[in-house]
């Protein structure tokens, strides 16, 4: 199974779409935005723009990595017959979905770490070691609902539909969750949508930790709730996709 994981990682690292959308985008946008607004200070939290944007872009990168590394490759494998190729080997069925989950979690790390590194090197962002660990750790674990969403999309849809749906889901969650623009500047209707989305709760945990505060219980509950709900949906969809008639 560790060899299976290695293979999954290798193929994504060679995938141009993954490298461009997931690894390069968040870093490039961080560099751009932080040069424009990095010195602004948020009045309510006292956080510098460079830190807020670091969390936002890291969260966006992690969100994009979660969905892009799961939905489309999985839909393609089902459609192309690669899944059948695996099903007729001794590899147990549960190992396939578990490996996909673990591989996606590993593939989230480059964008998280690179955005953090860009913030430290170009904007001189510095946080206490505990906050770095808490921030990266929670942004990492917090990707589980998004990976579950990606696997659900990949299990239910054919590749040519999974591709746009994954893109819309990814940008929709990022935009409406306040990763690109602060929720505060949104019209009230969008604001109320934002507050029920997992992406908003997810980024909120990061912003709080970066400000040296404990995350809100409602945000944590939100992410956990979505993780359980989407996780159950992903398992259901996976079973439906791999059922033997």
């Amino acid at each position: 199974m560790s060899h299976y994981l290695k293979i999954e990682l290798l193929r994504m690292v060679r995938n141009k779409r993954y490298i461009i959308f997931v690894v390069a985008f968040p870093v490039v946008f961080y560099l751009l935005y932080s040069n424009l607004w990095g010195d602004q200070v948020d009045e309510t939290t006292g956080l510098k723009g460079a830190v807020v944007l670091m969390v936002s872009m890291a969260a966006y990168g992690a969100l994009a990595a979660s969905i892009m590394s799961s939905a489309v490759p999985w839909a393609q494998e089902r459609h192309s017959g690669w899944l059948r190729q695996l099903q007729i080997t001794p590899l147990p069925g549960w190992a396939i979905i578990c490996t996909k989950l673990i591989a996606s979690m590993v593939l989230v790390l480059p964008s998280l770490l690179l955005v953090g590194l860009a913030a430290v090197l170009t904007q001189g962002v510095s946080l206490p070691a505990g906050e770095w660990a808490g921030l990266i750790g929670s942004l990492w674990i917090g990707t589980i609902p998004f990976i579950a969403l990606g696997l659900t999309i990949g299990s239910l849809l054919p590749p040519d539909t999974a591709q746009p749906v994954a893109m819309i889901g990814m940008f929709g969650l990022a935009l409406l969750g306040g990763l690109w623009f602060p929720v505060e500047v949104m019209p009230s209707a969008m604001k109320s949508i934002a507050q029920v989305l997992p992406s908003y709760d997810y980024a909120s945990i990061g912003w709080k930790i970066a400000a040296g505060d404990a995350p809100d219980a409602s945000s944590v509950l939100g992410v956990v709730g979505w993780a359980v709900g989407l996780g159950a949906l992903a398992v259901f969809a996976y079973r439906r996709a791999t059922v033997r008639a």
């Binding site: 060899h3 293979i7 190729q85 007729i88 080997t89 001794p90 008639a245």
Partner: protein, 294 residues
């Protein structure tokens, strides 16, 4: 011991019966062709052997175990009809990945050699031609060193040259004492590459034996001669005759027993037989006779 045992296996899709009470044993170490037209139930049978489809009724055993257990034990390798590779992985990476999933795989270099992929080992799957992709899929099927190899119309996308070398490679694998079952609708492939041909049509076995036995079991011989102005009356009453056709001045008699037909033709008729020709049935005639809608 039997490698495969189908016992009264039926598979229905709604009202459509794909496999109809199939009972078939295949001995370990043999190479068997499942020959039949499209829709005969060949692919359905192969998918049931792999546990990808469940029989509606009946029972399947592979080396004495159910299909799922046989797959888990690594006893089966298969080349299914469709199946793409992971585009970003090289030939070596894909083959090595699959072979490591099996408990007792063949050495990587041997797999690459047997599938004629040694020179392509470093190439990515998205840079392979159709025929090369088929070779990789053959390599994936044998990589685990399975005791039973299932091939579902393996040469469908190949040109003549690739076909020839594919069957050479298949026979080399069979020579290691493995059991091979392949589905085909090419008669020639069945005739040349198997030691037993099972003809299936409409989900049932309609003939089973060596290619020679199947040919001889069909009333496919013809006896023809120049009739000229003589009457053909009475020819249909000769022993073995199933049909009489007249074209211009030639008559062609279809018979299951050419010896008896000829004997009677000379001894019991007064016809002047000129320019006599006798043809044996070929496998194609046998196949068409066996699989035509009754």
């Amino acid at each position: 011991m039997n490698a495969i045992a189908f016992n009264g296996v039926t598979k229905k899709y709604g009202d459509v019966v794909a496999v109809d009470g199939l009972t078939l044993d295949i001995a370990a170490g043999s190479t068997v062709a499942l020959l039949g037209p499209n829709g005969a139930g060949k692919s359905t049978s192969i998918n049931m052997l792999l546990g990808l489809l469940r029989p509606t009724s009946g029972d399947i055993k592979v080396f004495g175990n159910g299909p799922d257990e046989a797959v888990t034990r690594g006893d089966i390798g298969a080349m299914l009809q469709e199946g793409a590779l992971i585009p970003e992985l090289t030939v070596r990476e894909s083959v090595d990945f699959i072979r490591r999933l099996y408990p007792d795989p063949l050495p990587l270099d041997e797999v690459l050699r047997m599938a004629e992929l040694t020179d392509l080992a470093g190439r990515r799957a998205d840079k392979l031609s159709g025929g090369q992709t088929q070779r990789v899929r053959f390599a994936l099927a044998i990589a685990g060193g399975p005791k039973l190899l299932l091939l579902d119309e393996p040469t469908a996308a190949m040109d003549v040259e690739s076909r020839r070398s594919f069957w050479d490679n298949m026979r080399a694998y069979a020579a290691q004492g493995r059991t091979i079952v392949f589905a085909t609708h090419y008669l020639e492939e069945a005739d040349q590459n198997s030691d037993r041909v099972v003809v299936v049509a409409r989900g049932k076995v309609v003939a089973d034996g060596t290619a020679a036995e199947i040919k001889s079991g069909v009333a496919g011989h013809t006896v023809s001669f120049r009739l000229g102005l003589q009457s053909a009356a009475g020819l249909d009453a000769l022993p073995g005759v199933s049909a009489v056709e007249i074209q211009a001045d030639r008559v062609t008699v279809r018979t299951g027993d050419p010896d008896a037909t000829l004997d009677a033709l000379y001894r019991k008729t007064t016809l002047d037989v000129r320019d006599l020709q006798v043809h044996g049935a070929d496998l194609e005639d046998a196949f068409l006779a066996l699989t035509k809608e009754s």
